[in-house]
């Protein structure tokens, strides 16, 4: 625990140091990124015990805040999420040290202060076991990330994204406050140690879990609570998007799992409900991802989709536990935790790659990119590897994570009584559908940005970014390969946590990972053999270079290429109208001598446009009725005060008599 405490201290002090002493970009990065690296190393040292030997570390001391206490517990579940944090944070900071230098800022230390505070508050969220302390850390996490999201606040859309994020986050937090207060009312203490279990909660268990699901689900970006995510993640600088997508939204998943531990075994119906929510989140997220024209928005929607996959795993876990099948429970919870770790790695890799694309080509619009594989080969190779990992192609880590999720669903479909069977069935079909759609999204992302010919001057002028922006990608890519070739490593890391959730040792998870651990290296060996055989075959062969064959036409322009939108047009045409929310900005040619027109199309979010915008509009209309009493005339306000005092006086008189 002392290691974790010093990690948090290092992060906070380093962040303050960056803000106070960071006069130049270089100084600020040295303080800020240095603290992130140091703190993460310290933190990593604390994890082997809880991860591998399932030990639990506790620290308790009083706190002067009402109902609060400094109760910190490091158990296997916290340790899994801390592992993702401490791996991602230093790599992202390393990238950020070079990346932020491309921005001219008056106060270069501030982004680092908020970055380090964000990491520190995530760490505290993950170990806090007192409701008040948890909420304070949760709020600190929200605020720190808000200031990072609004880093480029001179752009109107960034300010809008910031506001959306702030409102959404606080609506979520409101549900969490209710959750913790209700729990405290039942147990008499805000400390989680006094968690009552299912029996004592009786009727309120379902309501409590629903509150937790909405509160934490907002952070995790579950559909339809996801609308803030595709706004906020692309707005932040790329190394911050990495932390937000890889770790911060995972704290929502952590919260849901923690709630499951606190509230005791949930009935099977909740397992089904979680699978349904996961299926909707996965499929809607993937559909929106493939429709996006902006690389970072595509990645943000893909985060929504991946949280859906995680939720499918959790649902299978709850279902298995409710039906007394420890094997299904271990596979489901284990798959969810594995996918959190894997997602941190490949989504981190992809967001960093997107940052480099924007830095090099000046845009993230897929219709204006292309041909970057020639111009920035290192970044391109890593982005392709990350794409292959996220669409679960063997032998990479994405497949190793989805494999146990499928197994959980299949075993549920084959072994459980009817209610559970349908859950398993839905899980498998939803996972396969999500996977198919994700393939389209990432073929589009990787293919349109990096392959083909450049579609704009910016893309044509792009050059490979500096080594400080490429090497961090190698680290994350190595992680993706390692956890793919040795899936038992990941399974091993999450097995203690999965066991604590399933109530049984996670043997089925480890078995599945061990099987894959044999098959994956064989597959790699076969691929390597194929590459060598091809090289042998092609030695001393005549290999000419020519233009792409354009079916007889010999002057094809890059603009004649298929675009990102046309690539997915046949699929988006099949999307139900209720989900379609494309926006077109048209400036038609006008006059007798038209000077040209413009059409700009973007894929909107139906939930944002039809649900949220409408209800907030109604809220505003309702609020405007209040103008009747609030109109800015001081005399009237004085009258209100006088009237209020009079009423109070009368009430008091009445009571005295």
């Amino acid at each position: 625990m002392i290691l974790l405490a010093s990690a948090v201290a290092a992060l906070v002090l380093g962040g303050l140091g960056a803000a106070v002493f960071g006069r130049t970009q270089r100084q600020a990065a040295a303080w800020g990124a240095g603290a992130a690296v140091l703190g993460s190393l310290l933190g990593l040292l604390a994890l082997p015990g809880p991860l591998l030997r399932a030990t639990t570390l506790t620290h308790a001391s009083p706190w002067s805040v009402p109902f609060g206490s400094i109760l910190l517990v490091l158990d296997p579940l916290s340790a899994v999420f801390l592992l993702a944090t401490f791996v991602l944070a230093p790599v992202a900071a390393w990238y950020g040290a070079s990346y932020l230098r491309t921005y001219e800022r008056r106060r270069p230390g501030l982004p680092w202060l908020f970055y380090d505070l964000l990491i520190a508050s995530i760490v505290v969220v993950l170990v806090a076991r007192n409701g008040v302390l948890f909420l304070v850390a949760w709020e600190a996490m929200t605020l720190a990330s808000f200031f990072l999201v609004t880093f480029e606040d001179e752009r109107a859309e960034v300010r809008r994204a910031g506001w959306t994020y702030l409102v959404a986050a606080h609506l979520g937090t409101a549900f969490l406050m209710l959750f913790f207060a209700w729990l405290a009312a039942l147990t008499g203490s805000f400390d989680f140690a006094a968690a009552p279990g299912a029996a004592a909660l009786a009727g309120s268990q379902g309501w409590l879990f629903a509150l937790a699901l909405v509160g934490f689900g907002t952070k995790a970006g579950l559909v339809p609570l996801h609308v803030w995510l595709p706004e906020a993640h692309p707005a932040a600088p790329s190394h911050v998007s990495v932390v937000m997508s890889g770790v911060m939204i995972a704290t929502g998943v952590y919260g849901i799992l923690r709630a499951i531990l606190l509230l005791g075994p949930l009935p099977g119906a909740w397992g089904l409900a979680l699978i349904v929510i996961g299926a909707v989140t996965g499929i809607v997220g993937a559909l929106y991802a493939l429709a996006q024209g902006d690389l970072k928005r595509l990645l943000a929607y893909s985060s929504v989709e991946n949280m859906g996959i995680v939720l499918l795993g959790i649902g299978a876990g709850v279902l298995g536990a409710a039906h007394g099948s420890a094997a299904i429970a271990a596979l489901g919870f284990g798959a969810a935790l594995l996918h959190v770790l894997n997602h941190a790695l490949f989504k981190g890799l992809l967001f960093l790659g997107a940052g480099s694309v924007r830095h090099a080509a000046g845009t993230l619009a897929l219709d204006r990119l292309g041909g970057l594989a020639h111009r920035m080969p290192g970044t391109a190779a890593m982005f392709l590897l990350g794409s292959a990992a996220i669409i679960a192609l063997p032998p990479l880590n994405g497949f190793a994570g989805e494999f146990p999720a499928y197994l959980a669903g299949l075993r549920a479909a084959a072994e459980l009584p009817p209610g559970g069977r349908w859950g398993g069935l839905l899980l498998v079909v939803a996972l396969a559908t999500t996977g198919g759609l994700a393939i389209v999204a990432f073929v589009k992302a990787a293919g349109m940005a990096f392959l083909g010919r450049p579609r704009s001057d910016g893309a044509r002028a792009a050059r490979e970014v500096e080594p400080g922006l490429v090497r961090p990608l190698y680290v994350l890519a190595a992680g993706c390969v390692l956890l793919g070739l040795a899936p038992w490593l990941g399974a091993w890391a999450v097995s203690a946590a999965a066991a604590s959730l399933a109530g049984q040792p996670a043997t089925p998870l480890l078995d599945a990972a061990r099987t894959l651990g044999v098959v994956a290296p064989v597959l790699v060996a076969v691929i390597v053999a194929g590459v060598l055989a091809r090289a042998w075959l092609m030695r001393r062969r005549r290999q000419a270079v020519a233009d792409t064959w354009a079916c007889g036409y010999d002057a094809p322009l890059p603009r004649a290429q298929y675009t990102a939108s046309s690539l997915v047009a046949p699929l988006t045409a099949l999307v139900p109208a209720a989900l379609r929310a494309g926006v077109q900005h048209v400036r038609a040619p006008a006059g007798y001598f038209p000077a040209g027109g413009r059409v700009r199309a973007e894929a909107g979010d139906a939930f944002e446009q039809r649900v949220y915008r409408a209800s907030f509009l109604r809220l505003r209309q309702a609020a405007e009725r209040l103008r009747l009493v609030q109109h800015g005339r001081v005399q009237w306000y004085l009258l209100y005060i006088f009237a209020a005092l009079l009423v109070l006086l009368l009430v008091e008189f009445g009571r005295a008599r």
């Binding site: 497949f399 479909a413 069977r421 559908t433 073929v443 293919g447 392959l451 099987t515």
Partner: protein, 303 residues
């Protein structure tokens, strides 16, 4: 691992081009033509393998990786499919997931290789391939789900073991529906009529062929060979499903497998020679029918 289990996959590696040749021959005969020699596929491969290659200046390593990975994935897939009454050499709980994702691996890199050329024709093919495969993915999983839930086993080798489908008479209906869905998937995933036409010569109407316009020489050989392997894999899976209710002497199983493969070739040839290809806008419906069939099959096996 029994060494004999290696025989069916090795046979597949050797005979896959022959299988494609058999379809072409039968198809030609069905319309009264002579057709190419049965071994034409091998001759084409040998000729292509001797050639050099021309690469577009716009392509990268992805363009070269596409054919290789699709062939490797197809070859590896054969080792996951049980055939001729034997278990597959690689069999474990959830092995068919690896099968499905291996096919995806080959497909993704074929599509990426097409996008790598920057050609609008190949982009068009890539787009259509993505459409078909995205819709086919859930259908394939539904079929596999039927097989697995029918047998209560999570490995293809166990689910398709001789006699595995025989435990109840009412397994026949779901299995028949699953087999029908698999036939549709075989046609859709292997770019056959009525989804795509392997012999068409108009780029605007192609799906698979237009994606590989720029490949030549050994790369094209790998693509042709990978395509043949994938077709063999689907056919072997279909034969496995069809024969799973029976339990015979090993020699009879082997004979039945070969006869089954020939029957699949005849079926494909018959479909191809008696149907025109569908309009592109109708293709999604065709693939969705496969999902619906598999879905009904699943419902039947559940209730």
């Amino acid at each position: 691992m029994n060494a004999a289990t290696l025989l069916p996959p090795l046979l597949g590696l050797a005979a896959a081009p022959l299988f494609s040749g058999l379809i072409a021959k039968l198809k030609a005969r069905a319309v009264g033509r002579q057709g190419p020699p049965l071994l034409q596929g091998y001759r084409d491969l040998a000729r292509l393998l001797r050639k050099g290659a021309v690469y577009s200046r716009d392509t990268t390593w992805v363009f070269r990786a596409g054919p290789l990975l699709s062939a490797v994935a197809g070859a590896f897939a054969l080792f996951l499919i049980p055939a001729a009454g034997l278990t597959a050499p690689v069999a474990f709980a959830g092995d068919f997931l690896l099968l499905a994702y291996l096919l995806a691996l080959g497909r993704v890199f074929t599509v990426l290789a097409a996008l790598d050329t920057g050609s609008s024709f190949e982009g068009m093919g890539a787009s259509r391939e993505l459409l078909v495969s995205t819709l086919a993915e859930p259908a394939l999983f539904l079929v596999l789900l039927v097989l697995v839930t029918q047998a209560g086993e999570l490995s293809l080798s166990a689910a398709l073991a001789p006699g595995a489908g025989a435990h109840a008479l009412d397994a026949a209906a779901p299995l028949a529906l699953a087999a029908a869905a698999l036939v549709l998937l075989l046609l859709a995933e292997n770019a056959r009529v009525p989804v795509d036409d392997p012999t068409t010569h108009l780029e605007l109407t192609m799906i698979h062929e237009v994606m590989v316009l720029d490949h030549g020489g050994p790369d094209l050989a790998l693509i042709e060979y990978g395509g043949a392997l994938k077709l063999w894999a689907f056919a072997a899976l279909l034969v496995g499903v069809a024969l799973s209710p029976a339990e015979w002497h090993p020699a009879v199983e082997a004979g039945a497998f070969l006869a089954g493969m020939a029957a699949v070739a005849a079926l494909v040839a018959l479909i191809e020679s008696s149907m025109a290809r569908l309009r592109l806008t109708r293709v999604p419906q065709f693939v969705v029918v496969a999902s619906v069939l598999a879905g009904f099959s699943l419902l039947l096996s559940f209730v």
